[in-house]
């Protein structure tokens, strides 16, 4: 292997110098070998350790769910007026993570951004695992979860139909569509890589499995031609979908009359906050994964740098959202709305709100420093902080307005129970469990995308004397 690139910090190199997108550059055979290796070799002890730990968490999750189903939603901390609390917060939180995955995959392919090539499958897997978590909570917080299917419009013997003027019905359609389209997009991108796995499968059984999964893909340029067209079309659809799904989720709240909820900033603000959390979570997942699977040559410091820039950017969007909702409250002179926001800054839940501001507005500002953007440890610190901050942001937008609405006689405090906490922690364990399975079973880096990028970067480096815009291959 070639020597690692010179560390800009040590050589005093200009921090604005482009960082390499691909280190090596590895040959195509090397790429194929190193990128397929994680899904083809046996799991190591770190994977097993994490898998067993997360399985324990999933066990706790199942126990909490069984307890909940046996005893009803009275075991949650929800009360009147705070009828929505941890479960819906977790729904919004998880679905938000899904959206950054789709953004990276879909929107960036449409904008032809090369840095997406090695991380898009991680991002898509994060989306799918997150949407599965999100989909569980609307069912868990129902009083009669066995009737959850009533929200689907099927010809029922009760001769009733769901009511499509409700944001909750929209949620069901949006989340189901999002899960299915995300799976489709992920699979579409995987077909060529399943074919590569088929061609290198060590046993006949595995070869048959990958052959079936890849549908007989021959890597023909005719295939690629149609595939590229379909992929870009589904990417465009996915982009449109992301905005609509997050807006629909936000409308669960904004179409209600509650002061603190009833504001038109919610749809774009929730989209921004979703991206924000998603980029942060992706960093938390990528940094250990690239170290564990020795993928530093394809997920380079450049990727960390760009992802951190996105975290910083979306931190500003979200902070703008905070500014706007408080401004609207003050400018609108509605005493209930002003009261609701004043209670957020100084009332019962103020400590959560200040923690939210600290982690979502203040902490990401450290990412203005280039050295910190390429630091692995700091990426995880900021990533984890933002992931927590986004949860706090959802929570403080849902519970305090409910707890402090129009009539003072209706105001009531809220506190979670162990079931709330177990469901939250359990969903995190289940996410990790699913993500570990993805890392083990599926080629985590798209081979064809990366080979294409390598080819383009190499061509640009050979043709120009000066490097082209993204020609950052380090020889």
């Amino acid at each position: 292997m070639t020597a690692p690139p010179p560390d800009p910090r040590e050589e005093g190199r200009d921090a604005l110098d482009p960082l390499p997108l691909l280190v090596g550059p590895p040959t195509e055979e090397e790429l194929t070998r190193t990128l397929l290796a994680p899904s083809q070799r046996r799991a190591g002890w770190i994977w097993w350790g994490l898998f067993l730990a997360s399985s324990g968490g999933v066990g706790l999750y199942v126990a909490a769910i069984v307890w909940l189903f046996l005893n009803g939603i009275g075991v949650l901390g929800n009360n009147i007026p705070v009828a929505w609390a941890f479960p819906i917060t977790n729904l919004v939180w998880w679905i938000g993570f899904g959206h950054a995955g789709t953004l990276i995959s879909a929107i960036l392919v449409l904008f032809q951004q090369k840095w997406r090539a090695s991380i898009n499958r991680f991002a898509e897997a994060m989306t799918i695992c997150a949407v599965i978590q999100a989909g569980m909570f609307p069912i868990l917080h129902l009083g009669r979860p066995e009737y959850a299917y009533w929200i689907v419009p099927y010809p029922s013997s009760l001769a009733v139909w769901p009511q499509f003027r409700s944001a909750l019905t929209w949620d069901a359609g949006a989340i189901a569509t999002y899960l299915l389209v995300s799976l489709l997009f992920w699979y579409l991108g995987l077909i060529p890589d399943f074919a590569a796995a088929r061609d290198r499968a060590p046993t006949k059984g595995k070869r048959l499995f990958w052959a079936a999964a890849s549908l007989g893909w021959r890597s023909s340029q005719t295939h690629w031609h149609h595939w590229r067209s379909a992929y870009l079309l589904v990417a465009a659809l996915g982009t449109a979908l992301v905005v609509s799904v997050e807006s629909i989720i936000s409308m669960d709240f904004s179409i209600a009359q509650l002061p603190g909820w009833h504001t038109t900033i919610f749809p774009p603000y929730y989209v921004a906050s979703a991206m924000f959390g998603g980029f942060a979570l992706l960093l938390c997942l990528l940094v250990p994964a690239r170290a564990g699977y020795r993928l530093e040559h394809v997920i380079t410091e450049k990727h960390l740098d760009v992802l951190n820039r996105m975290v910083l950017l979306f931190s500003w969007f979200v902070s703008y959202g905070y500014l706007q909702e408080n401004f609207f409250a003050w400018y609108g002179s509605d005493r209930y709305e002003i009261g609701s926001f004043a209670a957020l800054w100084t009332g019962r839940f103020a400590w959560l709100w200040w923690a939210c501001v600290a982690t979502t507005t203040v902490l990401p500002q450290t990412l203005w420093v280039a050295r910190l953007r390429t630091s692995r440890a700091w990426s995880v610190v900021v990533g984890a902080g933002v992931v927590l901050g986004v949860w706090l942001e959802q929570f403080t937008h849902i519970v305090p307005p409910l707890s402090h609405d129009f009539l003072p006689s209706s105001w009531r405090p809220y506190g979670p129970t162990w079931v709330d906490l177990a469901l939250t922690g359990g969903s995190m364990a289940f996410f990790l469990w699913l993500f570990l399975l993805f890392l083990k079973l599926v080629p985590a880096i798209p081979l064809s995308d990366l080979k294409e990028v390598r080819h383009e970067l190499g061509k640009a480096a050979r043709e120009g004397g000066a490097p082209a815009e993204d020609a950052e291959v380090v020889a």
Binding site: T27, E28, E29, T32, P153, A159, V160, W161, P162, Q163, F164, R165, S166, T169, W170, G173, A174, T177, L180, V181, L184, F185, L188, P192, A195, A196, R198, D199, R200, A211, A212, L215, G216, R218, S219, S220, Q221, T222, H223, W224, H225, H226, W227, R228, S229, A230, L233, V234, L237, A240, L241, S244, V245, I248, L447, S448, D449, K451, E452, H455
Partner: protein, 180 residues
């Protein structure tokens, strides 16, 4: 129609592969195809493929169907079959219906794009003769291949000779029923 007799050959790079394809086309060989681990720039023109109309048309029809179906379902259920008064909103609440029609559009369009791709690429096809060529695994690795389908064996021999002249390695004939 009898299955064509294929001749395949491997090239070292995408550019060589495309040069071979252009030359073969110029010499009058029909049924040509090129293979590589990623879409090579210029392959579309060399092979004479236009825009992928099938995927676009498929997606568009899926989109129209999804939007229309989504809207009609909501309208019929909430405005015709079982209208109920919810906060005095009109039963035919078209602004509200737009949202799920939009989701229906995206869902059906995405699946239509996928099935259009399968149709256009004639997949799934696990037993195409070319897959049986020796060393063809490199097509998903770092190799670039060209295949020529011929109606008879004489033409195939000429194709194989031509591939060899252009610098192809592992030139070999492959037939239906000989796949691995």
């Amino acid at each position: 129609m009898t299955a064509p007799h294929y001749a395949v050959g491997e090239f070292a790079s995408g550019e060589e592969m495309l040069a071979a394809v252009r030359e073969l086309r110029r010499l009058g060989f029909g049924d040509l195809d090129a293979y590589g681990p990623y879409p090579v720039e210029g392959a579309r023109e060399a092979l004479g493929l236009g825009t992928s109309w099938i995927t676009r048309a498929g997606t568009l029809s899926g989109a129209i169907f999804g939007a229309a179906a989504g809207y009609v379902v909501q309208w019929w259920m909430n405005a015709i079959d079982w209208p109920i008064d919810v906060g005095n909103r009109p039963p035919h609440a078209w602004p509200a219906f737009i949202l799920l029609s939009y989701e229906g559009l995206i869902l059906c369009a995405a699946f239509a794009a996928f099935f259009a791709l399968l149709f256009a690429a004639r997949l799934p096809n696990l037993h195409h003769p070319v897959l049986g060529a020796e060393g063809f695994e490199s097509a998903t690795g770092s190799g670039f291949w060209v295949s020529v389908g011929s109606a008879d064996r004489e033409e195939r021999i000429r194709a194989m000779k031509q591939l060899g002249l252009m610098g192809a390695r592992k030139v070999q004939p492959v037939d239906e029923g000989e796949t691995g």
